[in-house]
């Protein structure tokens, strides 16, 4: 079985079933004028049946037994995803500059082999340049959190 393709098929089936049901509900409620629900239903139908074919094909293919455990590299990606979620939360509650500085320091420390002060200088410089360019030159508002 090709697990990845089967999983992708399941994602698509779920989406098409959900959107198809909602589209049908829209049609039945009478709130939909000409075609507002017709187009999504057509697309959902195509995705639904196509995804079932993908799932069936994925189960039919014999793949050599793969290890279910994540590799060291994949673990690092998942840790990065987790750290980024933490970063997004901290941006909202703490502030953009401080959170970005902390995020960059953490990642460069995690990925690289620099001395702590080199790491800090890199992080501070990158955050400051980004903040300056986007906040002052491009007028992007970073009004987040208790700090800045």
């Amino acid at each position: 079985m090709k697990k990845g393709e089967a999983f992708l098929g399941i994602i698509f089936v779920s989406f098409s079933a959900l959107f198809g049901a909602l589209g049908y509900g829209l049609y039945q409620s009478g709130r939909s004028s000409v075609g507002a629900s017709q187009w999504p239903i057509i697309v959902c139908t195509i995705i639904f049946f196509g995804s079932i074919v993908v799932i069936v094909n994925a189960f039919r293919v014999k793949e050599s037994k793969s290890n279910l455990q994540l590799s060291h590299e994949e673990k690092r990606v998942f840790i990065s995803i987790f750290l980024l979620i933490m970063y997004f939360i901290s941006v909202v509650f703490i502030g953009f500059f401080v959170s970005s500085l902390a995020m960059l320091y953490t990642f460069i420390y995690y990925f690289g082999k620099f001395k702590w002060y080199v790491n800090f200088v890199f992080s501070l410089a990158i955050t400051s340049i980004t903040y300056f360019v986007f906040s002052y030159l491009l007028k992007v508002s970073f009004q987040f959190g208790v700090l800045f």
């Binding site: 959107f19 196509g50 993908v54 990606v77 995803i81 990642f107 990925f111």
Partner: protein, 493 residues
């Protein structure tokens, strides 16, 4: 009109942005792991505050620079900076290994320049006529065109035709979220006010192309050894190379432009086709792989030929030639311009400024390439451990700055993780973006055609143009399947 366009494209600030764009593009292109699409996606948010000319010409600069920049690391490190330079690495690095790195880079630079210029001339010659022809299209023809764009892109851009189609259809489905333009009904918004205006495709693009690529870079971090580039002395081809460069550039620059104008076929495919054709035309085909000059010139002129070619369907029909052209559609849309035939009527000066800008960007590329390659070889030592967190930060800032809305960051992140998953199972995320772009075009024209014909479906086959696109749709669907069957039969024999 031409004078207006010249004044627009040759403003000192526009020239400066283009120069920086080309330099930035070469920087992005020569770093292995950073793709052209990722580079353009990361630069896009910077253009939000600019006017149309500054914005699109900066992106064109990055595009031209990045396609060329990939050849630097391909030749010096045997590691293509972008997939489009993979064919160049074969003979380019072989030449560098025998101490001819400067000559190889010179051939690559001049060929890229000539390929880009040729594609630019085709863009200037063909686009106005194609746009004029497209003015004859009404709703059924535009619907057929959008479906054709979706079919061809999906069938080409992945290892599985079906999964490609499904990804494209998934993009179309995502595009239906929000208030329906015709009826005003809220569709699939789940009561979330952020979804009322739909899912903006710019955060989706940043997620799928930049964030997901950064995750791939995280995964490959330990595989990165110390990069040792070959030393470069003089970046110029030899006297005897010039004839070969002009010959190859005229043939493969034209080929690249033609390939680039087909929606979904990008610079990577063009460069490999050019490499293969050059080999089959050569009298010394057995020497390919050992450092043959033609094998550098052909793919480089073809991949830069794609830059102008990809803009032809984008500007004239509103159908992106490749993922970078899709991002440029985003940039034009943000500026309130709608790519397509009407762009040539309503914003002629912007269109001609794009033509002039593409020419100027190629000149900048030539100047920077010949004078500063040694500087860019230093870029190759920037560690991924610093570069990847910067990309994370730029993805956040880029998606947020679109509308100062944190919801866009969440969308970017979700699609970034999804894009990483797709890359893990070797599925191209490009059809999703193209579905998002072509979906609204397909839907609005589908419904408009039905409204005009009072529900008669045969309106989609009422004109010769519709039939033409319908035949192309059938070919694009069945050709990959037919190819598979033929190759299976061949292998069985």
């Amino acid at each position: 009109m031409i004078i207006d366009a010249l004044l627009l494209a040759l403003q000192p600030s526009v020239l400066l942005y283009m120069f920086l764009g080309v330099a930035g593009g070469i920087f992005i292109g020569c770093l292995p792991g950073l793709t052209t699409t990722m580079g353009v996606a990361l630069v896009l948010p910077i253009t939000f505050g600019m006017d149309a000319a500054h914005s699109i010409l900066l992106l064109i600069g990055v595009y031209v620079g990045a396609v060329y920049g990939g050849s630097i690391s391909a030749i010096l490190l045997n590691t293509p900076g972008t997939p489009a330079s993979a064919a160049t690495a074969i003979d380019g690095h072989a030449m560098a290994a025998r101490g001819e790195a400067g000559r190889a880079l010179g051939i690559s630079t001049i060929s890229s320049f000539l390929g880009g210029i040729i594609s630019c001339f085709f863009l200037i010659l063909i686009s106005p006529y194609l746009a004029e022809f497209a003015l004859q299209f009404s709703a059924p023809e535009f619907f057929m065109l959008a479906v054709f764009g979706l079919c061809i892109i999906s069938s080409i851009s992945g290892r599985s035709v079906l999964i490609g189609f499904l990804c494209g259809a998934f993009g179309v489905l995502i595009a239906t979220i929000g208030i329906d333009d015709i009826s005003g009904v809220a569709r699939f918004t789940f009561g979330n006010i952020n979804l009322f205006s739909g899912v903006n495709f710019i955060p989706v693009m940043i997620g799928l192309f930049a964030m997901s690529q950064a995750f791939v870079a995280v995964e490959e971090m330990t595989k990165e050894g110390r990069l040792e580039a070959k030393k470069v002395t003089r970046v110029l081809p030899l006297k005897e190379d010039w004839r070969m460069i002009f010959k190859n550039s005229s043939i493969f620059g034209t080929l690249g432009t033609f390939i680039g104008s087909i929606p979904g076929v990008g610079a990577d495919i063009a460069s490999f086709i050019a490499y293969g054709q050059s080999k089959s035309l050569s009298k010394e085909s057995e020497k390919y792989g050992t450092g043959v000059t033609d094998a550098i010139s052909a793919p480089e002129s073809a991949n830069n030929g794609v830059t102008g070619g990809a803009l032809i369907p984008m500007l004239t029909l509103g159908v992106p030639g490749d993922a970078v052209a899709a991002i440029m559609i985003g940039a034009l849309t943000v500026q309130g311009l709608q790519p397509g035939p009407l762009l040539f009527q309503n914003n002629t000066e912007v269109v001609y400024a794009i033509f002039i800008g593409l020419l100027v960007a190629n000149v900048f590329m030539l100047c920077i390439g010949l004078s500063s390659v040694r500087l860019f070889t230093r870029v190759l030592i920037v560690p991924k451990s610093v570069l990847t967190p910067i990309i994370f930060l730029l993805c956040f800032v880029g998606s947020y700055s679109l509308a100062n809305n944190f919801f866009d960051v969440i969308v970017m992140f979700i699609f970034g993780v999804f894009g990483y998953f797709l890359k893990k199972i070797e599925v191209s995320p490009s059809p999703i973006i193209l579905g998002l772009i072509l979906g609204p075009m397909a839907e609005s024209n589908f419904r408009r055609a039905l409204l005009m014909s009072r529900g008669e479906y045969d309106t989609f086959f009422s004109t010769g143009i519709s039939w033409f696109f319908f035949i192309l749709i059938l070919i694009s669907i069945f050709f990959p399947l037919l190819k598979k069957v033929i190759s299976k039969l061949k292998s069985a024999n």
